[in-house]
């Protein structure tokens, strides 16, 4: 590590004289999410300049909304990735939880809250199963969850078809308890004339909770350790298997939460929905500074990664570009963000 040439003028007594005081900027850049933050600012400024409708508060609110639908899932996916594992079934398990909740309530004509709880049970079970197989067999989670991804995709479509003879779940808006559930999962409110969905607030709250857990609690310490070096963590008494299963179940929990939001927003769920979203979650986490190999990353970074995706997603529409090019621009901008991220992290590490 190189030292910074000029010593601080009056260092506090506890500081070590061999560590030069880093500027606020240098310290910010050393954080995992720094690259993503710079990328997000660049993309925001870019669309701000070329797409006038992007500038209004209302459109930023819709950017935030789209971001939140991905960001809710990107948060636990980032924690899981820091813990050293992948979940490719994350996208379709959102749909599975929502289908389960809606079909159960509809077919048994129960209060929707009963269905909501059954959906939660299923989502947690999927997470548990993924984690349990990974921990017990030692097979890479990439393969295990690739398997569950296809299985869930098949179950979603086949069961929905069998039960309803349609590709979507029936409308549940007439069932008991629907309006209260809708208020909880898919509400909205107005500030200064701008309509904001509650999912944006939930997203921010969950990111804050995840950040607090990661940086301030023992569980956070253990998440970093199981991803960084599982044998070492085990040797000092960290319950590695339980941690990993817990992380998979956290992904299941948020899949349920996201699924409930979608269900109560549209009253119905398309059985083929959610395929491909798992990559968006993973990309958000990686853009946000999570290492693919585990042991490093942040929840705030994943949130910024999701924001980049949300801005591109909406920015293209506001810029009036041909939406057929959307996927291309998403890929291009994400690749750019990753390169920038890597570049900045190297710079920060070199001058740290």
């Amino acid at each position: 590590m190189t030292q910074i040439a000029e010593a601080p003028v009056s260092p506090p007594p506890i500081r070590d004289e061999r560590v030069g005081r880093k500027s606020l900027l240098a310290r910010l850049l050393a954080r995992p999410e720094a690259g993503a933050l710079v990328g997000a600012i660049v993309i925001y400024v870019f669309f701000f300049i070329i797409a006038p409708p992007f500038r209004s508060a209302a459109s930023f609110s819709s950017v935030l909304y789209v971001t939140s639908t991905y960001g809710l899932m990107a948060t636990p996916v980032a924690l899981l990735m820091i813990g050293g594992e992948f979940d490719l079934s994350a996208g379709v398990s959102v749909t599975s939880a929502a289908l389960c909740a809606s079909l159960f309530s509809y077919e048994f004509t129960t209060n929707v809250w009963v269905g909501v709880l059954v959906g939660l049970g299923l989502a947690l079970f999927i997470g548990f199963l993924n984690g349990w197989i990974v921990v017990k067999t030692g097979i890479p989670s990439f393969l295990v969850t690739l398997g569950t991804f296809f299985m869930l995709q098949g179950i979603n479509i086949a069961l929905t078809q069998t039960i309803t003879n349609q590709v979507a779940s029936p409308d549940i808006s007439t069932l008991q308890g629907f309006s209260s559930a809708q208020k909880v999962f898919a509400g909205s409110f107005t500030i200064g004339g701008v309509n904001i969905r509650t999912s944006v607030l939930y997203w921010i709250v969950f990111v804050l909770i995840a950040t607090w857990i990661l940086l301030r609690t023992r569980i956070g310490n253990w998440i970093f350790s199981v991803g960084g070096s599982a044998p070492s963590a085990r040797a000092v008494g960290v319950p590695v298997g339980r941690m990993k299963i817990g992380l998979f179940m956290a992904v299941g929990f948020m899949a349920w939460f996201t699924g409930m939001h979608t269900l109560f927003l549209f009253n119905t769920i398309q059985s083929g929905q959610g395929v491909g979203n798992e990559f968006v979650y993973i990309i958000a986490a990686v853009v946000g500074g999570c290492l693919l190999t585990g042991g490093y990353g942040s929840a705030v970074g994943a949130a910024i990664g999701a924001l980049i995706f949300g801005m591109v997603n909406q920015g293209i529409v506001y810029a009036g570009w041909n939406p057929d090019w959307f996927q291309f621009f998403v890929g291009l901008l994400l690749l750019g963000a990753i390169l920038l991220n890597t570049f900045i992290r190297r710079r920060a590490e070199a001058s740290a």
Binding site: V19, R218, N221, F224, S225, G228, S229, S232, A233
Partner: protein, 332 residues
């Protein structure tokens, strides 16, 4: 395991022992009762005798070195002392009372801590997080980060490691420094006896020196140290006693006053075996023969020809694959 708040208990106890230690010669620690003692201990795995008839001890403020080549039984010995295995014959005493540990955790509760070669650290995590991993100090739901950072820095300083920044990833430290963090972590969490498994094996000359310095630091803080190594040059300067193993048997157990460095080196090298190896190389001809002649000259210079290999029948020459750490149990 001890909670961090209570953890310095071990440290204070160690310091108390240290003061009572002043001026007494090695071997007299704690009123003459050794912290750890094996008497005629042996270990069989089915028909395989991995270790037989080992007697050794370590007291407070002493370093007992266990020397032996690969396959000599060092790992089995560690596993018995660390609580992974129970001896199948003989006895194992801690503080003068016989014990039968069922797990390393039980040994740890009696203050016997093992620092393995891989050190059990997570390279990407900061030093202080590694130091407290698995034993985090907490304030309600949160971790007490200020306490942990300060304690980590102070504890490392007490071991003579002055870290610039305990927030740096432990992977950025040198191999020797990482070893020392692992040692001071064991000491802080109440270790009275430290088992160091080849702490200098993967290190360069200078780094090895650093680790040896910390072995002495630990001894001066009143800990008993069991130092496993195959390098007599590392063992002799820090050791008070030397147990030499070959093929699962003791080939010598000496106080420092009873043996010189050259004798130790000779015993360790296994004079007879070395001599035989030199003959084999010479008969192979070519470049190997040159090496053989140099080796033979060394054997003569050390004066170990034919005298060593006490308990060993030395019928075959063990392969000297210095990089292999796995102790083979292949010698029946």
């Amino acid at each position: 395991m001890t909670t961090p708040q209570n953890a310095p208990v071990g440290k204070h106890a160690a310091q108390a022992q240290q003061t009572s230690q002043e001026g007494t010669p090695a071997g007299q620690g704690n009123g003459g009762v050794p912290l750890v003692r094996l008497v005629n201990a042996g270990k069989r795995y089915g028909a395989v005798i991995a270790l037989s008839d080992i007697t050794m001890e370590v007291g407070a403020g002493e370093v007992t070195c266990v020397l032996g080549d690969n396959g000599a039984g060092k790992s089995t010995l560690i596993k018995i002392i660390a609580g992974l295995h129970q001896p199948s014959s003989g006895s194992y005493e801690v503080d003068g009372t016989p014990v039968a540990f069922n797990s390393p955790r039980e040994a740890l509760e009696r203050g016997i801590a093992t620092v393995y070669q891989d050190l059990a650290v997570v390279p990407l995590m900061p030093v202080w997080r590694n130091f407290f991993l698995g034993n985090e100090a907490r304030k309600g739901l949160r971790m007490d980060i200020a306490f942990m950072k300060k304690t980590c820095k102070d504890e490392l300083l007490a071991m003579g490691i002055d870290l610039r920044d305990v927030d740096q990833p432990i992977g950025t430290l040198s191999g020797g420094e990482r070893q020392c963090v692992a040692i001071s972590r064991a000491v802080y969490f109440g270790a009275k006896v430290l088992i160091l498994d080849e702490p200098t094996a993967a290190l360069g000359v200078k780094q090895s020196g650093v680790v040896l310095k910390y072995v002495i630091q630990a001894r001066e803080r009143g800990l008993g140290v069991i130092f496993i190594t195959h390098n007599p040059h590392h063992a002799y300067p820090v050791g008070d006693r030397f147990l030499l193993l070959n093929r699962g048997r003791s080939i010598g157990y000496y106080e420092k006053s009873q043996i010189t460095r050259d004798e130790l080196t000779g015993l360790m090298a296994g004079g007879a075996e070395l001599e035989q190896l030199s003959h084999e190389l010479e008969s192979a001809g070519g470049a190997a023969a040159d090496i053989g002649r140099v080796m033979e000259a060394d054997v003569e210079e050390l004066g170990i020809s034919h005298q060593a290999g006490g308990g060993s029948d030395a019928a075959s020459v063990p392969t000297k694959s210095g990089t292999t750490r796995q102790e083979g149990l292949s010698h029946p």
